[in-house]
Chain length 245, copies 2
């Protein structure tokens, strides 16, 4: 039988390019209070640091076990579903929904999939280059005139929302439709690289539109939550095209 | 028509005996991001302070307008319903419910009543003497092995939960049963003082049980959410008894 603790272990919290080490410490404390434990740090400005440890309070085990990496791709190895947190509305983008809706829908996915919760830099949030790895975007509803949540406060709310929903999810009696296992991030990313190179080879990518086109295609395929067989088929097609060139 | 902004203005956030000024600043920022604005500080250890202002970020207006008082009673002047946040289970106590349930139920009350959200000292939480002023106790579900939420994180979650519920509350079409206006805290408190003095005069209060007895009586009357007429009747009875002594 699935337990709350096991379900929460399927989530990793990824902080991208964090400027202030204190926010890493406060975030470690925040996620641990909500029963999460897995922290990834992409290019932190200053880590490890005394300030992070001090603010982590009793959550120093989370900091000790935190995985520090040089790129988001490295942090996403083994991940099947990535949710990015961003307040800004963006043009041409993934589904952007309230955290409560995200919390409601993510738990069946987490049964079979590894899920990443992605937070950007304190000042600028997630970059477009980080956003492109997300299957879904989520936001915390805030005061229109002052929406500047501290990073660790955002982590606290997101983890709280998901924790709250686990009880409802685990203890209801309705039939659960558990989605298939999605492909890992690196499989998907390699497919996009493959696709891009084929499009380039066939002359479809005009330089000025290339980035925007790839963004659209990523959105399209991200929406469909590909499984392994489907990726194999698509890559087979790409390879076949390349043979003809 | 009721608006989200007006409804949130019915709430005051009261921080009791806060030790670290940084937590006051972070709490000010937290409540402002969620659309709240009214902060009360009961006997803060160090305020105003540069650290509070620095951590408040753009919420310095909340700090500037914060009302600093010497006693909780002063902070509760004009309040009709008080909710205390505490993780500890206590013997013989008010209803103690999850913050989500509290958020669901408090909005109709806030239509006509002034509501206080009460947070204790960082280390020890709310004292029994503070708890006794609460009509309801509420908690944030946390990791059993590490439940130590930072004060401003608790403020953030509570304000977020209430904010989330306002949309559901304001935009549904069901008939709303809005409870009567409850009496102000000072009216209720004076009644309890009156009751206690009468019980003392008639020799009912044995010293060793007095505190516990008054606690039980407070619970009993708090449960019934007295209105003004009812308090007048009860105090009339008490005065009548005193005349006979």
């Amino acid at each position: 039988m699935q337990t709350k603790s096991n379900l929460l272990k399927k989530f990793r919290i990824i902080l991208c390019r964090t400027s202030h080490p204190g926010n890493i410490g406060s975030s470690a404390r925040a996620l641990k209070t909500m029963g999460f434990s897995r922290l990834y740090l992409v290019k932190p400005n200053n880590f490890p640091s005394a300030e992070a440890s001090s603010l982590a309070s009793g959550a120093d085990d989370v900091l000790r076990d935190a995985i520090v990496v040089e790129s988001l791709e490295d942090a996403l190895i083994g991940v099947n579903f990535t949710i990015g947190f961003t307040a800004r509305k963006r043009e041409l983008t993934q589904p952007h929904e309230n955290i409560r809706l995200t919390a409601t829908n993510i738990l069946p996915v987490a049964e079979k999939n590894e899920v990443a919760l992605l937070f950007g830099n304190e000042k600028n949030g997630l970059s477009n280059d980080e956003i492109k790895h997300c299957q879904k975007l989520s936001f915390i509803d805030a005061n229109k005139d002052y929406s500047s949540l501290n990073l660790s406060q955002a982590v606290q709310i997101v983890c709280h929302e998901i924790r709250m929903m686990t009880d409802l999810y685990l203890h209801n009696d309705i039939t659960k439709v558990i989605p298939a296992k999605y492909v890992s991030h690196n499989v998907l990313n390699s497919f996009f690289d493959h696709l891009e190179s084929v499009l380039d080879q066939i002359g479809f990518l005009k330089k000025i539109q290339a980035e925007r086109l790839m963004q659209r295609l990523r959105l399209l395929f991200n929406r469909s939550n590909l499984d392994k067989d489907e990726v194999n088929i698509l890559r087979g097609i790409l390879s076949e095209i390349q043979k003809k060139l």
